[in-house]
């Protein structure tokens, strides 16, 4: 009759919650009061590639949006059809061996002075953009490649709509950051940012659509170590800015396809509140792995947004602007991701490990 509760729930859960419960649970104030124990964590709820858009798209895409996707290219190349090997399978093979492609179908680039992103190299160069808020020297060469592709534009582009939805749906994509050493969410000249990955579904509102702060995520210490990283940062007027580091960021589109993006010199700029962290994750995307990760999407999805693999490969290398190899060939392309996060409690499930337990 008198069962020990600790025995019923297991020592692991007991210690986890006992640890979780150490700190007072009152939320920190938005006026800069430090979170309890100087720790706060956020989980990613939404992500999409930074594409600056005007309502009609004419300012950034005066040549219109890209018209040549896999279906259109196929129709041009094989108006009379052909054998399965020479047509469908040949094009499918080119998706994975784009170096062999000799296509040269037009793929309009985004122009104009404005782009979303950060000044990654600290310089203001002739090819740099200005941010929508007027910041000069924005490095986002990827925007030139994808800015006029319906695939990446909102609100209905496949990468925008499904890519973002899958961030929420797949626990594989449960990336998180934990800030430690936080004296104030308004201003702190030194905080540590740890990138982690969680294991649990996101906490939704009563309607099941909006992601809410206050959920709990178990930290995956088993399969996710390659994604973990630590960055030094600071908080200025409620905005977190971090140093740049090479990171791998999980962003699968299907469970059978464990995609991740490799960024060189990735840095965060996030507006922090006690419940949310929103802003940019910007860095140089490794071109080869970026292309292959995007190609994790099936050809019919690429067709919906007129993204032809051959043209995309060619443009990525054409605009690559960072991390030259020994021959001077650029291997990475500056890029930016809009990222939205919600405050979360971390459950490490192990004794003697301090957890981020409160906002």
């Amino acid at each position: 009759m008198k069962h020990s509760i600790a025995r019923q729930v297991g020592w692991r859960a007991f210690t986890a919650v006992a640890t979780l419960a150490v700190a007072p649970a009152i939320a920190c104030a938005a006026d800069g009061t430090a979170p309890p124990n100087g720790r706060i964590a956020y989980v990613t709820t939404d992500m999409y590639w930074g594409v600056y858009q005007t309502p009609d798209g004419k300012a950034e895409c005066p040549d219109g949006l890209n018209k040549y996707g896999p279906r259109e290219v196929f129709a041009k190349l094989y108006p009379k059809g052909g054998t399965e090997i020479d047509t469908h399978l040949a094009r499918e093979a080119l998706k994975y061996y784009p170096e062999d492609s000799k296509d040269n179908f037009p793929m309009p680039e985004a122009r104009g002075p404005i782009a979303i992103g950060l000044n990654l190299d600290g310089k203001v160069g002739p090819n740099d953009f200005t941010s929508p808020t007027g910041e000069k020297g924005i490095d986002n060469a990827l925007y030139r490649v994808i800015g006029c592709s319906p695939q990446f534009r909102g609100p209905e582009g496949q990468f925008r709509l499904f890519g973002n939805r899958l961030v929420r749906q797949l626990t594989y994509n449960r990336s998180m950051i934990e800030l430690t050493g936080v004296d104030s969410l308004q201003n702190d000249d030194s905080v540590q940012v740890t990138i982690l990955r969680g294991l649990d579904p996101l906490l939704t509102d009563a309607g099941g659509d909006k992601i809410m702060p206050g959920g709990t995520q178990r930290v995956d210490n088993r399969f996710s170590k390659r994604f973990y990283n630590q960055l030094q940062g600071k908080i200025v007027n409620g905005v977190l800015e971090t140093e740049a580091k090479d990171v791998s960021w999980p962003w699968a589109v299907f469970f059978g396809n464990t995609n991740e993006y490799r960024f060189r010199g990735m840095q965060f700029r996030l507006q922090l509140t006690e419940g949310r962290a929103e802003g940019l994750m910007a860095g140089y995307a490794d071109v080869d792995s970026y292309y292959r990760t995007v190609m994790g999407w099936s050809t019919h999805h690429l067709s919906y947004g007129q993204l032809d693999p051959s043209g995309f490969w060619r443009k990525l290398w054409q605009h690559a602007d960072g991390y030259p190899d020994k021959n001077g060939k650029m291997t990475a392309i500056s890029s930016s991701v809009n990222i939205y996060m919600a405050q979360v409690y971390l459950d490490r499930g192990e004794p003697n490990i301090t957890v981020s337990q409160s906002r």
């Binding site: 979780l20 419960a21 509102d205 009563a206 206050g214 709990t216 337990q357």
Partner: protein
């Protein structure tokens, strides 16, 4: 020789004196240690109660195991004097309820007799639940059918079946098996009929003449077994308890004590205690409770479900596992937390349920500050000091707060543009209106103290930008916050008095008059035990009053006209099984 005779006489005298002294000492011990007889008027009327959904589910689980799915919940019962379990002296069963019972019976009987499907991972229930194998599965087997009917019938009807009834059911099974070419199909038909039989669905107090009180009646042994079982386990008696009833042991002090102690030590006691407090706290309202998703986006169905579970877990842990003082439920910081509750309490939580200590500076302590009480007694989109104050008085102190007058003006409370920012300011209008003040003065000083929690039970210090004043008082005791309110309630003499009344009412299945002489006795014993609920249950279960039958006063229900198609009228004192129930169909 004479000396010898004298010696013999002296020895005999000494023996006589010694014997008398021993008998006197023994009588003194017996007199001093025996349970005092209850007052002559102690006892409860014989009643018929409709089994609650939880009792039904617990009974099926006990008889056939957890893998039998009872299905969806039954229609809620009518609450009487704060408890669902008290809709007693006259029971109405609506056609809707009958359909629920019929549906459940079909499903349960089908599962019990299922052959299983190993390819789909469904086990064969019949092999485990039918205590014999028929000679052939495609033909009737009266002997095996009789074995099943006797065993299942004894548990379902809480008493042995007469041989006539067994023969009738076996005959039904035979005919059905013949027609279906399936022995188990025949048993399924019979089990179905047993599951909708009033002898199963209605908990009836069967009585017999009381040998200790000429001209009075008491529960018979099986009636007493059911009363004990539904009180302590919220379920049917088990085989052992029915055996004790059959041997008449429940009317020997040793036999009754042995059975009561066994029941108190059983894990099934947890079901009984959960059921009582779920009923007393009115937690059935969680079944239809919802919060405005715009106003409280983090409050989901899972949050509310877990809020109910959190409090029940706290109650069971506090009262049973720790055997702690009932009154400390209102001050304890020990509780449990789940993922769904984490956002409301601002804390992370491991998967499942884990022990949790409410932080000292959280503004919370005791079950009054649980999300369950705070959400249940609030509006969908705002808190309600009045509802909370009313609930506290009615649920925990057994005090009646009258309903508001029909012409009450709610405009000050509901006007969103009002310059009045806090609930205290808004309710001041009611407290200063003589028509409203009478009630608001007894509810609001309590409820306003809980204004630190919004309608979703989330902690706050301001409302509409204004600082919330949480000072209040309960029957002359002042406090500054919800923790203080919990302490004041804990120390209120009415708190244990109310619990005793509710448990005793629950045990007897009907409302108990405040002047019932047993209340004072139980209350005194409860206090002497340090307000241990297990001791209170033992006290009531062992009391002679629990088995005594007294005439029923006329009830409101008896005066009211039936409202639905089927009405099961009040009981007679016929002791034959099933003889108490008369069904009348109304068209």
């Amino acid at each position: 020789m004479r000396d010898l005779m004298k010696g013999d006489e002296g020895g005999r005298r000494r023996w006589i004196v010694g014997g008398v002294a021993a008998i006197a000492a023994l009588a003194a011990v017996v007199l001093l240690t025996r349970e005092p007889s209850p007052p002559p008027t102690a006892g409860a009327p014989a009643r018929v109660r409709l089994m609650t959904g939880t009792q039904y589910a617990n009974s099926i689980e006990y008889m056939f195991g957890q893998s039998i799915d009872v299905g969806s919940a039954f229609a809620p019962l009518q609450r009487v004097d704060g408890l669902l379990a008290l809709n007693a002296s006259q029971v109405s069963v609506t056609m809707g309820q009958m359909q629920d019972f019929q549906r459940a019976a079909v499903s349960i009987a089908s599962q019990v007799m299922s052959e299983g499907n190993l390819d789909r991972g469904v086990p064969s229930h019949r092999d485990a639940l039918v205590p014999c194998k028929p000679a052939a599965a495609t033909e009737p087997d009266d002997e095996c059918a009789a074995t099943f009917v006797r065993k299942a019938g004894r548990l379902l009807f809480r008493r042995p079946l007469s041989e006539e009834k067994v023969a009738e059911l076996v005959d039904s099974a035979h005919r059905a098996a013949d027609s279906l070419d399936d022995f188990y199909g025949g048993l399924q038909v019979v089990l179905e009929s047993m599951l909708i039989n009033p002898q199963f669905l209605l908990i009836e107090d069967t009585t017999e003449p009381d040998p200790d009180r000429r001209g009075h009646r008491r529960l018979d042994s099986y009636g007493l077994a059911s009363r004990l079982s539904f009180l302590l386990w919220n379920s049917v008696p088990d085989e052992q308890l029915l055996d004790a009833a059959e041997k008449g042991e429940l009317y020997t002090s040793r036999g009754r004590k042995r059975e009561v102690e066994r029941m108190l030590a059983s894990p099934r006691l947890e079901s009984g205690v959960r059921a009582f407090f779920d009923d007393m706290f009115g937690f059935d309202h969680f079944d239809s409770l919802s919060k405005d998703p715009q106003k409280y986006p983090t409050i989901t169905g899972a949050t509310l479900q877990d809020a109910r579970e959190q409090t029940l877990r706290t109650v069971v842990d506090h009262l049973l596992h720790k055997n702690s003082d009932y009154r400390d439920l209102f001050t304890t910081r020990s509780t449990f937390i789940s993922r769904a509750l984490g956002p409301v309490y601002h804390v992370g939580a491991a998967p499942g349920w884990s022990p949790y200590e409410l932080p000292a500076d959280s503004g919370r302590a005791g079950i009054l500050t649980h999300v369950s009480f705070l959400t249940l007694h609030a509006h969908p989109a705002r808190s309600s000091a009045t509802l909370r104050g009313k609930a506290l008085r009615e649920v925990f102190l057994c005090q009646k707060v009258p309903p508001p007058p029909p012409n009450v003006d709610f405009s000050a409370v509901e006007d969103p543009d009002s310059s009045l920012k806090t609930a205290r300011e808004k309710l001041e209008v009611h407290r200063s209106n003589p028509a409203c003040a009478g009630c608001h003065k007894i509810t609001d000083p309590i409820g306003l103290t809980l204004e630190n929690f919004d309608g979703a039970g989330q902690y706050r210090t301001t409302e509409n930008g204004a600082q919330i004043d949480t000072s209040g008082e309960l029957d002359g005791k002042s406090f500054n916050d919800a923790v203080g309110l919990g302490e004041a309630l804990r120390n209120s003499p009415a708190l244990p008095t109310c619990l005793v009344k509710q448990v005793y009412s629950y045990a007897t299945g009907g409302s108990i008059n405040n002047r019932d002489p047993m209340l004072e006795i139980f209350e005194q014993d409860f206090a002497e035990s340090g307000y241990r609920v297990v001791d209170l249950l033992r006290d009531i279960a062992m009391s002679e009053a629990l088995s005594r039958v007294v005439p029923a006063p006329p009830s409101k229900q008896q005066l009211a006209a039936p409202t639905e198609e089927i009405e099961i009228l009040t009981v007679s004192n016929d002791t034959t099984a099933g003889g108490m129930i008369h069904e009348t169909a109304h068209h």
